[in-house]
């Protein structure tokens, strides 16, 4: 779970260009701040000290102050010129961001829900479309175009190591593009306040070498095989016989609801509950039993399974690789 989430370490062109702009802006702003502060401190240091009864100097009413005037005007002109540089740099960066090449791009739809991410890999052939949740796998070096939608309130998709953020607004469709140039796991998080569990609405972007990515995608397109292990088989029966199926989908079974994260390959994911927990049997059991303890306000209800049943269920779910 120790993935990066930092806008100062970039692994793709979009975040990289922004970081370059940040460095230029920081440089100019630091210089301006230092100069203003020095001017101000010098003014205080050189001015003679006085008390409330010191007679005021009304010279300014009688004659103009040409030196002061010249200096103030010069300072304003320099400030305006520096601001123009920054506007220019900002617009130029914007242009570069918009011009990223999208040849051979991977198209993915991201739909935000309170408080998880639905991720659907588009394909010209409908049979090759597949859905997952809270974990976006992308091939290194290939551009990715995200189509962003929201199912309920406004959310914002943000992976600082790879790109700036984009809002997902109900009733509107947004797009963003990015590219990961180095293999790794990058953490992202919802950046627009979206209710109780805004804090735990995270996701991972897993950037893999293209061959590994293709292997992963091929695995995701397959329905998981029916469990061979008897405990897991019992877990599957419990899953299909309980209220789990009202919200969740597992490919190849009768569970085909879409209100909650797709569990078809849950066992292959690194986290549970949109980044709130690492994915292991113990945490999964805790999550199923008392989700409100881990993410108060979450839409998943608590389930009072008998310990045996819970164990079987967890074995089954973790076997879905």
């Amino acid at each position: 779970m120790s993935a990066l989430q930092d806008s100062l370490h970039t692994f793709g062109p979009q975040a990289g260009h922004i970081l370059d702009l940040w460095r230029l802006t920081l440089l100019i702003c630091t210089a301006v701040f230092t100069l203003v502060l020095l001017g101000f401190l010098y003014a205080i240091w050189r001015a003679p000290k006085a008390g409330p009864h010191t007679p005021p100097d009304l010279g300014a009413f009688e004659h103009s102050e040409p030196t002061l005037q010249r200096n103030v005007i010069a300072a304003v002109i320099v400030s305006a010129a520096l601001l123009l540089v920054l506007v220019g740099a900002s617009v130029w960066t914007d242009r570069v961001l918009a011009q990223m090449s999208l040849r051979d791009a991977l198209h993915v739809q991201v739909t935000a829900h309170q408080w998880w991410w639905e991720i659907q890999y588009d394909d010209a052939q409908p049979a090759r479309v597949f859905t997952t949740a809270n974990e976006l796998h992308v091939p290194v070096g290939r551009p990715v175009v995200l189509t962003l939608k929201s199912d309920d309130v406004i959310h914002s998709f943000w992976v600082p190591n790879l790109a700036g953020k984009k809002d997902l607004i109900p009733g509107r469709t947004a797009q963003m593009q990015f590219r990961a140039d180095k293999a790794g796991v990058y953490r992202g998080q919802c950046a627009e306040f979206c209710g109780y569990q805004h804090a735990w609405m995270a996701f991972l972007v897993v950037a893999d070498e293209p061959s590994r990515y293709e292997a992963w995608a091929a695995g995701q397109r397959q329905a998981p095989p029916p469990p061979a292990d008897p405990v897991a088989a019992r877990g599957m029966r419990i899953f299909l016989g309980s209220t789990c199926v009202m919200c969740h989908n597992i490919a190849g079974t009768d569970a085909s609801a879409r209100k909650a994260p797709d569990l078809s390959h849950l066992g292959s994911r690194q986290t549970l509950a949109a980044g709130a927990l690492p994915n292991n049997a113990e945490k999964l059991a805790a999550w199923i039993a008392e989700p409100q303890k881990i993410k108060p306000g979450v839409n998943m209800p608590a389930h009072a399974f008998a310990p045996d049943d819970l164990h079987a269920l967890v074995v089954y779910l973790e076997s879905l690789k």
Partner: protein, 650 residues
């Protein structure tokens, strides 16, 4: 009521008119005329702008302390990762209440509150314009704030953020009454704010002392004038937005529902069209305080008066053209966003003009380094950082990284605390002797200042880094693995220091009422009119209304005439002057104290709060409001007679 047979031919009241210098009898009569009545009925009938001003200031600071305590709770929760001290439900209420309190119940009202007290004194008026409306505006503001805190205490405090984005704040995702209380609070504060704007504009335009032409207006008054005009244009936008929200919630309209042809983004446009100017509503009065304090403590008039005034007006205009920089992450057209980048950066220029003019003033002045000036000097460090981080946020690409992160939290606190709260506390130290007749302790003042300055930077500077390191805003907790714990703890330590500093300030303000050194009329040797009367000022502000001959009337030689003679001392008679040149125009008699504005405010409160629960409250609630307003405006026969007598007497 008995009819006076002699009326109107032979007035039975012979007005007592003032002379220059005024006699002891006239001064006594003036005091008796303008004073608020005693007793509990007098308490709710008070309309003197100084009484209302002090109540307003104290109330606003009360909300400041409340909002600060909420912030302290948030800082405690965030001090360590995955803390279980406060859950998401309470945390969301805390930051919503904190933001709402600080923006709507403290920052904007406190500036109006200080001006309610000061502006009439600074322009040489006996009273603020529309004194009854002024009292009404205060009561409405107080009741609105109390409603919000009562709701919070009953665990139905709003929890959708101070910005209440739809659809999260809409009927589907915020069931219950929480957001309705928020939306009605907006109605309360907007009503109060708009009334105050009208009152201040009228006071500045029509009640200035003769000779105070617009280009002799103190810069603080200019600031408040500009602010009042901004209120008139900005606040209707949020009132429209919140009314549409409450209608979506209560009567089933679909302004913001995309499924029925509404638009979620409409809210953001309306809200930020108000919300960005609002930042300047808070910041421009702060600039006004600085422009009042710097000349006094550097013993010279401000450098570049005209440039300063034009900068204020330019800031006000530009502030209406950059609301979209709050929406850079939405899918608005990219090219359009660039224009808002340009305007957002351009607004730095008028601020730069003012900063350079102040430095020029300090450079050529002789400095009296007292606490008020210290607070103003801190402004230079803090606001310049806030302004520069604002320049960063104005850039679309940079904003896409730091938008809605702790970087923005740092930025807005640097701007609002540095640009408004530091100058405000300085202003309180500066004008406290005018209000109470006693100076605040300089020793406590210095402790107060250094704790605040150091604590503030410890609390908020690390947030810049946290934002860049990826920490989003409005999260009730964060994972250990992110490595944000250390900086958050540091920030909490700073927040505790700020809390102590505010405590020292309150202690100082409380104790100095009785223990402070006697101030005399003009303890700082200032040059503006408010220091030309006694401290605290008499009920009618000036024993004789001054005639103004320059920008710093108390510093400059006073040619004849020095004061206005011939205004009634036993009637609330004021002199109305022309807008540009402040030539005497006509005289008008102001209303006397009455409880009806209070009753009207109670009736309005019943209407507003009732309408949260049933739309019919709007209909039936109108009846008591109408009764109160009618009684408020009903002419009294005796007063009319006195006014006529005043008109007829030579």
């Amino acid at each position: 009521m008995t009819r006076d047979p002699a009326w109107p031919d032979k007035p039975d009241i012979e007005p007592l008119r003032n002379t220059v210098p005024p006699s002891a009898e006239q001064i006594l009569a003036l005091e008796r005329t303008w004073r608020d009545p005693p007793g509990w009925l007098g308490f709710i009938s008070a309309i003197n702008h100084k009484t209302i001003g002090v109540r307003f200031i104290v109330t606003a600071f009360g909300f400041f302390v409340a909002g600060g305590l909420l912030a302290a709770l948030m800082r405690l929760q965030l001090a360590r990762p995955e803390s279980r001290l406060i859950g998401p439900d309470l945390y969301n209420q805390l930051f919503t209440m904190h933001g709402t309190t600080m923006m709507f119940l403290f920052a904007v009202p406190v500036m109006q509150a200080v001006s309610v007290y000061l502006v009439p004194l600074m322009v040489g008026a006996r009273s603020i314009a529309f004194p009854r409306m002024n009292a009404y505006a205060f009561w409405v503001y107080l009741f609105g704030g109390l409603m919000l805190y009562v709701a919070f205490a009953m665990n139905i405090g709003p929890d959708a953020g101070w910005f209440a984005y739809v659809p999260l704040s809409g009927p589907d995702y915020s069931p219950g009454k929480r957001v309705d209380f928020w939306a009605q609070l907006i109605t309360f504060t907007e009503l109060s704010g708009l009334l105050e704007a009208v009152i201040l504009i009228t006071t500045v335009f029509k009640l200035r002392a003769p000779g105070m032409t617009l280009n002799r207006l103190p810069l603080f008054v200019w600031g408040m004038l500009v602010t009042a005009f901004m209120v008139l244009f900005a606040m209707p936008s949020v009132m429209l937005a919140s009314s549409a929200l409450i209608m979506d919630r209560l009567v089933g309209t679909h302004f913001y529902n995309p499924a029925e042809g509404g638009d979620a983004l409409l809210w953001q446009h309306l809200f930020w069209f108000f919300g960005h100017p609002e930042v300047y509503l808070i910041f421009i009065p702060g600039l006004g305080f600085i422009s009042a304090i710097i000349p006094t403590f550097s013993r010279r008039p401000i450098f570049g008066y005209s440039a300063m005034v034009l900068a204020l007006i330019a800031t006000a205009f530009l502030s209406f053209g950059l609301w979209v920089h709050h929406m850079f992450a939405t899918n608005l057209p990219e090219l359009g966003k660039s224009f808002f980048t340009a305007v957002s950066m351009m607004i730095a220029i008028p601020s730069a003009v003012q900063i350079f003019c102040w430095i020029a003033t300090l450079w050529t002045g002789r400095l009296n380094l007292k606490t008020p000036l210290l607070f103003v000097l801190a402004f230079f460090v803090i606001l310049v950082i806030g302004g520069l981080s604002g320049v960063m946020l104005a850039s679309v690409p940079l904003d896409l990284q730091v938008h809605d992160t702790y970087f923005v939290v740092a930025h807005l606190h640097y701007v609002l605390i540095g640009g408004a709260v530091f100058p405000l506390i300085g202003a309180i130290y500066y004008w406290y002797p005018k209000i109470t007749g006693r100076l605040m302790s300089e020793r406590l003042g210095r402790w107060n200042f250094w704790l605040f300055f150091v604590g503030f930077n410890i609390a908020f500077f690390p947030m810049h880094l946290l934002g860049l390191m990826g920490m989003p805003r409005r999260v009730y907790t964060y994972p250990k693995e992110m490595g944000w714990g250390g900086l958050n703890l540091l920030s909490t330590v700073g927040a505790v220091m700020v809390a102590f500093s505010v405590l020292l300030f309150l202690v100082n303000a409380w104790r100095s009422r009785t223990h402070g050194a006697l101030a005399g009329d003009n303890p700082w040797g200032a040059g503006t009119l408010e220091w030309g009367t006694s401290s605290p000022p008499p009920a009618g502000n000036f024993n004789a209304v001054p005639v103004v001959h320059g920008r710093e009337p108390l510093w400059e030689a006073q040619p004849e005439p020095t004061h206005v003679s011939g205004l009634a001392a036993d009637q609330r008679e004021v002199l109305v002057t022309t807008v540009l040149e402040a030539h005497p125009d006509h005289r008008v008699v102001f209303p006397v104290p009455t409880p009806w504005p209070f009753v009207g405010a109670v009736a309005t409160t019943v209407l507003f709060v009732g309408s949260i629960f049933t739309p019919w409250a709007v209909v039936w609630g109108m009846v008591p409001v109408a009764i109160a307003l009618t009684a408020w405006f009903w002419p009294r026969r005796r007063e009319t007679r006195a006014h006529l007598a005043l008109e007829r007497s030579p």
